[in-house]
Symmetry: C2
DNA sequence: TTGTACGCGTTATCAT
DNA sequence: ATGATAACGCGTACAA
């Protein structure tokens, strides 16, 4: 049997209560002499608290749950790492749940985390607005009020009463598309994300907004996904039809797939076509890809601090900023003379 | 307040014990009539078990802990995904701990996981044999006997009594290096992993074994790491000195960094130099990199099944097989006429 | 400042 | 087949 609080109490000739007060880090007043006695006995016995017993008494564990699409996707991994770093700084453990963007899996994990008395539950990533289980999840979310578990979403799901920490995905693609427009490109294609996913919808809207405000045509939208293959496929389609001036993709992976496919076909990126993505992954850096830096790690870390911090510091909606990262996969349109007289990307 | 077992008991006019037997899925005999009553009452009240109370009684939670280096490293992410998939199939939640290969962090997480009454703890990835905290960790590991928590390592740490599920890292690099030797290469360089890490040591030994058995010189070892930058740096060094016939790297990322650096310098890979890595990551696939497919996902999944399964099925040491994946980053040495009469990689 | 005793929600043992 | 009740290990009113 492991050594318990009462073992320490016996050894120190003190009551359970006193020992608990010292060892649980409560701010209860205990004389220095007895505190020493407790610490000494605890040391000698090698006492380790039973966090589960403690959790039962407190009605809450020192665990955080983060529901992601897939932890092998670096986007989610960064978020999870942010959560874990911020959580472990306060003594919390992080439970990672892979729901594959499946609302019913999300619901199941949500229930499990609730049953586990998790201190907080984070929903990372986008969602599918128009599927039935999404609504069932919302119903379940409302019932959290009765528990000590705090819930937070890293994408605005439009759920009443669920706080949000997120990026502005519409702005992300609007800014990126504007950047390409400023470079003189007119026929700009967009490689979409997964059909129906909120993130896809928002990013596509951002692309469309930027194009429309410049009186450009938004009909160059290619079906996609978030993976490399989607980029390859879309690029292959463009090669078979006609090449646009530039391509913006929903993610770096998609963009990278497109770049590689173009180059394998003998197309010069960026001289014949500019390509940009979203995320600023390490491979985007390696490939010298123009992209948008997303604060994924900070998303997880900040959300966690909000959950663990005092309720006051908890605003309903926090939007973190993104930043365009200009690299070598984009440059001026062929017919444009850059105002600075240089040919580097502006 | 959430609805508890006793609420269900009252509603069904039954004892706590009976209700528990039905709802906890025990194989205890209960008449069908009362079983129905329990289920009905439970449904009507929307009963959700308190897993923490259950865990206190059972002395074990339905959680698994996996201690990784860094979840944003796809190698660890794949393992974690394997663990989570196998665990969730049995109703377990997965706690991910990022220890950054720091033994004292590993120890701290290990203790926390024990305090949490985790059903199992998995150590993923390599370790540093020669640092003091590694020994302290070993001491702590021995004391697990007293708890219900099962421990398993995904790298052979040489700890007595700790079961291992792993790949044979020596063989991985021996096989890969042999492959390049068969292609006719003689001056084969090796880009090492992090200094002192067990995985690095083993892979390097595999490289050396293959070279020595072919009477080749093993002095072309470049210091490295597991990241892209290490590959870039090593390649830059080779460019400044003299180019070997081929390069094997400790990981795909390292190899990819080298390939990109070579190509930026105008070197043709594979015609002027062959490059190969280890992992078979999705970017290795994209870059058409010859590599070794490591069963990372299966490592996590199998280890988890062993932990959750009956103790009998639990052999002390399980080695999963790897597989060379021949792609376009390696080819025959310039002075070699392939026996098949073709210039494709053999 | 320290101690007593109950409660947290469930499982499991022992009766019935 | 069902019920009463003692753990499980800790936190925390309430007492002293």
């Amino acid at each position: 049997m492991a050594v318990s609080l009462s073992d320490v109490a016996k050894r120190a000739n003190l009551s359970l209560a006193t020992v608990s007060r010292v060892l649980s880090g409560s701010d209860y007043k205990v004389s220095n002499a007895t505190r020493e006695r407790v610490l000494k006995a605890s040391q000698e016995l090698g006492y380790r608290p039973n966090e589960i017993a403690r959790a039962l008494a407190r009605r809450m564990t020192n665990t955080l749950g983060v529901i992601v699409g897939d932890i092998t996707d670096s986007y989610f991994a960064e978020i999870a790492r942010g959560v874990e770093d911020a959580g472990s700084a306060d003594g919390y453990l992080t439970i990672v749940c892979n729901a594959d963007r499946n609302p019913s899996a999300e619901l199941a994990y949500f229930q499990m985390l609730l049953e586990h008395q998790a201190a907080g539950i984070l929903f990372a990533g986008g969602f599918y607005p128009d599927v039935p289980d999404t609504d069932r999840l919302y119903q379940a979310l409302k019932k959290v009020k009765g528990s000590n578990t705090k819930v937070l979403s890293l994408a605005d799901r439009g759920y009443d009463g669920i706080k949000v920490v997120s990026v502005d995905n519409v702005a992300v693609l609007r800014d990126l598309t504007r950047h390409l427009i400023k470079l003189g490109h007119r026929r700009i294609a967009y490689i979409d994300g997964p059909e129906g996913l909120s993130t896809s919808i928002q990013r596509r809207r951002g692309y469309e907004q930027a194009m429309q405000e410049a009186d450009l045509n938004t009909n160059l939208v290619f079906p996609g996904g978030f993976g490399i293959e989607s980029g390859r496929l879309a690029a292959a389609t463009m090669l078979a039809q006609s090449l646009p001036d530039a391509v913006v993709a929903a993610t770096d992976d998609t963009a990278i797939g497109a770049v590689v496919t173009f180059r394998q076909a003998g197309i010069d990126v960026p001289r014949q076509i500019s390509v940009a993505g979203v995320d600023d992954s390490k491979y985007a850096q390696l490939m010298n890809l123009t992209t948008v830096k997303l604060p994924t790690y900070e998303l997880g870390a900040l959300a966690t601090r909000l959950i663990l911090g005092p309720a006051e510091a908890f605003s309903d909606r926090t939007i973190l900023t993104h930043r365009i990262v200009r690299r070598g996969s984009t440059t001026w349109a062929a017919n444009v003379v850059p105002s600075g007289g240089t040919s580097r990307a502006g």
